[in-house]
């Protein structure tokens, strides 16, 4: 009786014999016809498409009855979700028909800074108004135009084309997500990603701040990782959770290290130290593929050979084990000394020796004190890592013998902490010492081993004199820079302090709600007050749009063409598209339609270097038979039709009927860097020693930057006390925040989800709560303090007793109060973003936002 989903879809696609062409949508779209069974209703059809609600773009089958969307189910062949869906994916059906959507273009009729009153206007008027303002600033100074993005829920070719064709400054959300980790990995191994395992083979996983049950982890929004995790657990993988709160890893954790938030760097250093002490390290990997054997002079710089002709500087030198001579690191057939010193340059030592020496105080007890965990727990982790890493072992994959090191770390959003960049470096060092980077079962950070542009950029970190752009790119303040738009707000509010000589005038908000989503709401409010013209593209009226938008352009949700989306689950390669199951509701339009029209009116659509030309380039259509003509405005469907044909398909009809193009398993030579022709694709040597970080530090000092900016630009990750810890002692608790699966990444007020999580709570350990005479369910006031300026902020919420959170830490989930005018959002409570600060002390050395602040919690007077 069981009909698998796969059979069901096949049945639905084939039992009618032929696919018929529907004509519900302009452009003559083909859709799946319903399966011919007894109870099929007239007018029923199934449309394969891609989920709109999250970040990982799961495959969907939309059931449409008489032109109405009735439900979504997971696309059975889509590698990312394999027929399943997260709760938001299912519940988005409600939000598509939400009568509270922005239905028509809107024009503000009252002053800005207060909740808006709106007049419905035509698309023509709205687009002309926006285009005129953009044209005006572009003619005067392109720097005055800022395009700010939350998320494009598809490949970002169309927004990149808009940014490039207009010359806008682009702001994005990475600095609020996990970019400190991205920068650390890009710097150290050249990969664009944070940390995840080779889930098929990993035997021991450090789930380091990974909220398994609620939030994605590296590269995926959510669903794929838990699917792979449960399979791995059933295969016998052990999971040690390093997390202040057990709610995330839940019963999937075999061991729990309830670490104090923000102290991960100290723990990683201790683990490194103990691994070296035990000699549980992969000498061969460190010698061959990292700069560990490079000799460092007393100035902290590599000892280098004399430059060869045409080279600016000579090659770094190593000590040849066989001859005792200093030779260039890439000398053929030579084995360098890993742990050694020489008599030259004041006793130059290998980077590895220096690292070892820098760790001399980093004992399990030392880290245990800082991190609030037992030294024995750290020792246990080290023993498990060492035992499971099987250093020296190999395994045969696709006929090739590859290193087998089945231990790895999963870490993502936790990288947004004050020492995040260096903490993630140190955590990666754990995997590097074990030799598990890129090994079978080992440490991964992206799905294929390809060099990210920052790898070479970071070899020589640019530190320029001012004036700077608004996000301080290449500045003496944040030379490695993750583009933090709250910091931009601070810059707009204090341009002279940051050596910035202009303030932007026009902002275009693309699915972004900075006042709701980004910490330091007050700083952002002050900044938007200074912006002369703000337009927002969004299906809902966000808090930011409500207070500051002049024009709101209603975006469609799932009912539009969008793509292409990678559909890989890291092991199977696939591509998918978003296909509109129904026409756009109300007067909403897809973003591509909006940008095509906007560019036409701004005058940047046609010709070389125009929007269409850049789209051709981004989709690799340029100079092919399928290139878009540069003088005709295409429909989005036509763009994707060309893309499909370029990729060997008959056209967009393929995606309209199948939904996903399966390309088969990712080959081991693409996935495992040891199986590549040149190991690691030649992105070598991995940077254990951060020479260029030290160079950047020297440059920053020379330019007179304050210590607060340069102190974490050190060659090795170095622990220091956190800024928050200098807060007054009465602020005795640390606030951290988390995602809940009901809201994570949706940027959408879905009533069914809000019903399940109707209000904000402050999770507290009962020990802490009882000491303050706070009962479970009491209304409480949470007050945060800025450790440097003493500024305080307050919100009211409800206390919730939790034994799964360590004492001394409280936790508030995100995504409350973001769409204020929505009837389901009213009264759901504050966002923790109202308590956080941005700027010095609350960002990393890479300008990444932190989510940690000291607070005091008191029972609200008059509360229950």
């Amino acid at each position: 009786m069981r009909v698998s989903r796969k059979d069901f879809l096949k049945l639905s696609a084939t039992s009618a014999g032929v696919l018929t062409v529907g004509s519900l949508l302009s452009g003559g779209m083909k859709t799946l016809v319903p399966f011919e069974k007894g109870k099929v209703k007239l007018g029923e059809k199934f449309v394969p498409t891609t989920c709109w609600i999250g970040k990982q773009d799961c495959g969907l089958i939309a059931r449409v009855v008489n032109g109405r969307l009735v439900s979504f189910q997971g696309h059975p062949d889509h590698p990312r979700n394999k027929g399943a869906l997260c709760p938001k994916g299912v519940a988005q059906i409600q939000s598509i028909y939400d009568p509270n959507r922005v239905k028509t273009p809107l024009k503000r009729t009252n002053k800005k800074g207060i909740p808006g009153t709106w007049e419905q206007i035509s698309w023509d008027e709205a687009l002309n108004t926006v285009a005129d303002r953009v044209k005006d600033v572009l003619e005067r100074d392109p720097r005055l135009f800022v395009w700010q993005k939350g998320r494009s829920k598809a490949k970002d070719f169309y927004d990149d084309a808009f940014v490039k064709s207009t010359g806008a400054t682009k702001l994005h959300h990475g600095a609020f997500c996990s970019d400190a980790g991205y920068r650390a990995l890009e710097y150290t191994i050249g990969m664009h990603g944070v940390l995840h395992p080779d889930m098929r083979h990993t035997k021991y996983l450090l789930s380091w701040g990974w909220n398994i049950t609620n939030a994605g982890g590296n590269k995926f929004c959510w669903l794929t990782w838990p699917q792979q995790l449960v399979e791995a657990k059933e295969r016998g993988m052990k999971v040690a959770a390093i997390d202040p709160r057990l709610r995330g890893p839940a019963h999937f954790a075999d061991d729990w290290l309830a670490i104090k938030p923000g102290t991960d760097l100290a723990l990683a250093l201790a683990i490194c130290n103990l691994l070296i002490e035990k000699d549980s390290i992969d000498h061969e990997y460190l010698r061959k593929y990292t700069n560990s054997p490079f000799l460092i002079g007393d100035d902290g710089m590599f000892l280098r050979a004399d430059p060869e002709e045409g080279e600016e500087e000579g090659k770094p030198l190593v000590l040849d084990q066989a001859t005792g001579l200093l030779v260039p690191f890439d000398t053929e057939g030579m084995t360098p000394v890993l742990d050694g010193k020489t008599s030259v340059s004041g006793g130059a030592k290998t980077a590895f020796r220096l690292f070892k020496e820098s760790l001399s105080g980093s004992s399990a007890e030392w880290a245990g004190d800082i991190c609030g965990i037992h030294a024995s727990q750290i020792e246990q982790v080290v023993n498990d890592l060492a035992a499971n890493a099987m250093i020296g072992s190999t395994i045969q994959i696709d006929g090739k013998m590859l290193p087998y090191r089945p231990v790895a770390i999963m870490a993502y959003h936790m990288s947004q902490q004050e020492l995040g960049f260096q903490a993630l470096r140190a955590m990666l060092f754990v995997s590097m010492l074990l030799g598990s980077v890129g090994a079978v079962g080992g440490q991964f950070s992206d799905f294929t081993w390809k060099e990210y542009k920052n790898w070479s950029k970071f070899a020589d970190i640019s530190v320029k004199e001012g004036p700077y752009n608004i996000y301080l790119s290449g500045s003496k303040f944040f030379p490695i820079n993750s583009n933090n738009s709250s910091l931009v707000a601070k810059v707009i509010n204090n341009p002279e302090q940051y050596e910035v000589d202009y303030i932007p005038e026009v902002f275009l908000l693309h699915h972004v709600n900075p006042l709701g989503s980004f910490p330091d709401r007050e700083e952002n409010i002050k900044a938007y007050e200074k912006i002369k013209f703000v337009a927002a593209i969004d299906p809902w009226l966000s808090l930011t749009a409500d207070l500051f938008a002049d024009i709101v352009l209603p975006a469609a949700t799932i009912e539009k063409y969008e793509g292409p989306m990678s559909a890989t689950d890291q092991y199977v390669d696939a591509t998918a598209m978003r296909i509109p199951p129904i026409e756009p509701l109300f007067q909403s339009r897809g973003e591509i339609d909006i940008y095509l029209d906007l560019c036409e009116r701004i005058g940047v659509l046609y010709g070389e270097g125009g929007y269409l030309d850049i789209v051709n380039n981004e989709l690799k259509l340029r100079d092919t038979d399928f290139a878009l003509p540069l003088n005709v405005k295409p429909t989005p469907r036509e763009i994707f039709d060309k893309y499909s044909k370029l990729n060997g398909l008959e056209g967009i009809e393929f995606f309209e009927t199948e939904g996903v193009q399966l390309k088969g398993p990712v080959s081991s030579s693409k996935y495992y860097p040891y199986a590549m022709e040149t190991p690691f694709g030649g992105i070598l040597p991995h940077r254990l020693y951060g020479e260029s970080l030290l160079v950047a530090q020297h440059r920053m000092m020379e330019m007179g930057a304050d210590e607060i900016y340069y102190r974490d630009y050190t060659a090795f990750p170095t622990w220091r006390d956190l800024t928050v810890e200098s807060s007054p002692p009465e602020y005795d608790l640390l606030l951290m925040s988390t995602h809940m699966i009901e809201f994570k990444q949706s940027r959408t007020p879905i009533p069914m989800m809000i019903e399940m999580v109707p209000n904000q709570v402050v999770e507290m350990n009962p020990k802490d709560a009882k000491a303050k005479r706070i009962a479970d369910g009491d209304e409480v006031i949470v007050e945060s303090i800025h450790a440097i300026t003493g500024e305080t902020r307050q919100v009211k919420s409800i206390a919730a007793y939790r034994e799964n959170i360590r004492p001394g830490v409280i936790c508030m989930p995100h995504h409350f109060g973001e769409y204020v005018k929505h009837p389901w959002v009213k009264g759901t409570g504050p966002s923790p973003n109202s308590l956080y600060f941005t700027g010095e002390g609350y960002v990393t050395n890479t300008a990444d936002q932190t989510y940690l602040v000291k607070v005091k919690v008191t029972k609200a007077i008059g509360g229950k």
């Binding site: 439900s71 729990w256 019903e755």
Partner: protein
């Protein structure tokens, strides 16, 4: 014979509540009515804490207390093991709700048309959809089984009881219940226990298992593997208290 039931694997459950949501969409249940409910549990004291999750549909008991108390025969057992509710016949006495030890019955206190989350008759939406719940599932008004009774879906009338139907409208079409179909980590398995080769029969045979409130003698057709039943020391966290 056929005896439909479920095997729920607690080891795999992430507590994401996709099953609750899929149930609501598929069966068009109104605000506040959860036929499937996923508990999020906490046990012990820091640092010896345990967090785990447990989906709880209707148990479709073989010896169903709710069936015995129904004065009008609206609640009845089908031959295939499903415990069904005929919403044309239900008089809303709520005896079944009292008799059921699992708390799976939901009463429609409000006019369903006024209790469906949003104003679906908003004039501009009306122009797009023609009115009513836009995602209304047309299958729910059909008659099912040899008895030809209307037993699928929810939110049909004010003053009528409803509960999990095991998605009878899907099962009769050869599909799995929506909760089993949607589950990201394959926690919920649905099938025929009378078929020794079915997946559910095999799972039950090969794993230690339990049923909820076994001592009540209700003989639930929902079995759990991969865990232990909750105890008096198990605390519910993130409880859904519906806004009714």
């Amino acid at each position: 014979m056929t005896s439909y039931g479920m095997v729920i694997d607690l080891n795999r459950c992430t507590g994401c509540r996709s099953c609750m949501t899929a149930c609501k969409v598929e069966n068009n249940t109104t605000q506040g009515n959860f036929w499937m409910y996923t508990f999020r549990f906490e046990e012990g004291e820091f640092p010896n804490t345990r967090v785990w999750f447990m989906p709880r549909p209707c148990m479709h008991c073989q010896n169903a207390a709710c069936v015995k108390v129904c004065p009008v025969g609206a609640r009845y057992k089908r031959e295939d093991g499903l415990t069904a509710t005929d919403w044309d016949r239900c008089i809303g006495c709520r005896y079944c709700e009292v008799a059921c030890p699992y708390g799976v019955n939901c009463f429609n206190w409000k006019d369903p048309n006024k209790n469906h989350y949003l104003d679906w008759n908003d004039p501009e939406l009306l122009a797009e959809t023609g009115g009513g719940l836009p995602y209304a599932n047309p299958d729910l008004k059909e008659e099912y089984g040899d008895e030809n009774r209307r037993i699928a879906g929810g939110g049909h009338h004010k003053g009528v009881i409803e509960k999990c139907t095991f998605c009878v409208h899907r099962v009769e079409d050869g599909l799995q219940p929506a909760c089993a179909d949607v589950c990201p980590t394959r926690v919920i398995h649905f099938g025929d226990f009378d078929d020794k080769n079915s997946e559910v029969s095999k799972l039950l045979k090969n794993n230690p298992n339990f049923r909820l409130l076994e001592e009540m003698g209700t003989e639930p057709n929902v079995h759990y593997i991969g865990g232990q039943p909750p105890t008096s020391k198990t605390r519910q966290i993130e409880e859904v208290k519906a806004r009714v």
